[in-house]
């Protein structure tokens, strides 16, 4: 099945899907979407890549164990959670916002960073699970 077409297609598909996943992540605050679904889409991108090019190649592409994304994501979410406490002595997880909206993304605040954390963790988790199972199948 590893036809050249699929391989080529997936090479283009990967960045496209990743972009799409980020789009879904960012718009989550306004329309259906968000970190979780975004993260899943991104993982599907990698899974497809692995499907076409073999697991080893995908791993080489990522250059690190996908599991590493989990603590990174958790840390991002954590920082988003504690930042209000550190900055303005507000309770954990309080939303704090930049006063002006940014283009495309809209309002930027701790909630967005939190969602990015979710996004990263979801990628890390799903890739870890799928890669591990595939390897030991």
């Amino acid at each position: 099945m590893k036809t050249i077409i699929l391989r080529t297609a997936s090479n283009y598909l990967l960045p496209l899907l990743l972009l799409f996943s980020i789009f879904i992540l960012l718009r989550g605050h306004y329309l259906p979407g968000g970190g979780f679904v975004g993260g899943l889409i991104a993982s599907i991108a990698f899974v497809l890549h692995a499907f076409a090019n073999g697991l080893e190649n995908t791993k080489n592409l990522i250059k690190m164990h996908p599991g590493f994304l989990m603590p990174v994501g958790l840390l991002v979410a954590f920082l988003a959670g504690v930042s209000p406490a550190l900055i303005s002595n507000l309770p954990f997880m309080t939303g704090i916002w930049f006063p002006e909206p940014l283009a495309v993304i809209g309002m930027v605040g701790s909630a967005l960073f939190f969602d990015i954390g979710v996004y990263l963790v979801v990628i890390g988790v799903s890739l870890t699970i799928i890669f591990t199972i595939t390897e030991s199948a």
């Binding site: 306004y30 329309l31 259906p32 979780f36 988790v125 699970i129 199972i133 030991s136």
Partner: protein, 117 residues
């Protein structure tokens, strides 16, 4: 719709339980998944369902203008679904591992820890 949904939820619970009562580890896990789906739908139903009014504030306004679906159950279910996904994937791997070690997925042959020793 609510009536039928309630019956289907009952069916999900019943079949989930029935699967749990079988001797196969695979069936057991599928049963748990069905039960989980049932519970999620139950939250959905009991949070009262509304047709065609997603809880998304229209582009032009700052809050809702008319009736809309309760977003809280949706958020709860979303959390519950994701959590059960975590548990399910672990369970599925548990099947795999148990099969490798115990060499069967027959639950009746996994009784050694309850035996007197």
């Amino acid at each position: 719709m609510e009536f039928l949904l309630a019956i289907l939820i009952g069916l999900l619970y019943a079949s989930g339980l029935y699967m749990m009562l079988r001797r196969s580890l695979v069936k057991l896990i599928i049963g748990l998944i069905l039960l989980g789906n049932g519970a999620n739908l139950l939250i959905f139903l009991l949070g009262r369902i509304t047709k065609g009014k997603p809880p998304i504030i229209p582009e032009e306004s700052k809050f809702f203008l008319d009736a809309y679906a309760d977003p809280v159950p949706q958020a709860l279910i979303l959390t519950a679904i994701v959590i059960s996904f975590g548990l399910q994937s672990f369970a599925i791997v548990l099947i795999k591992r148990a099969y490798k070690v115990v060499k069967t997925d027959d639950l009746d042959q996994m009784n050694s820890t309850d035996e007197f020793s």
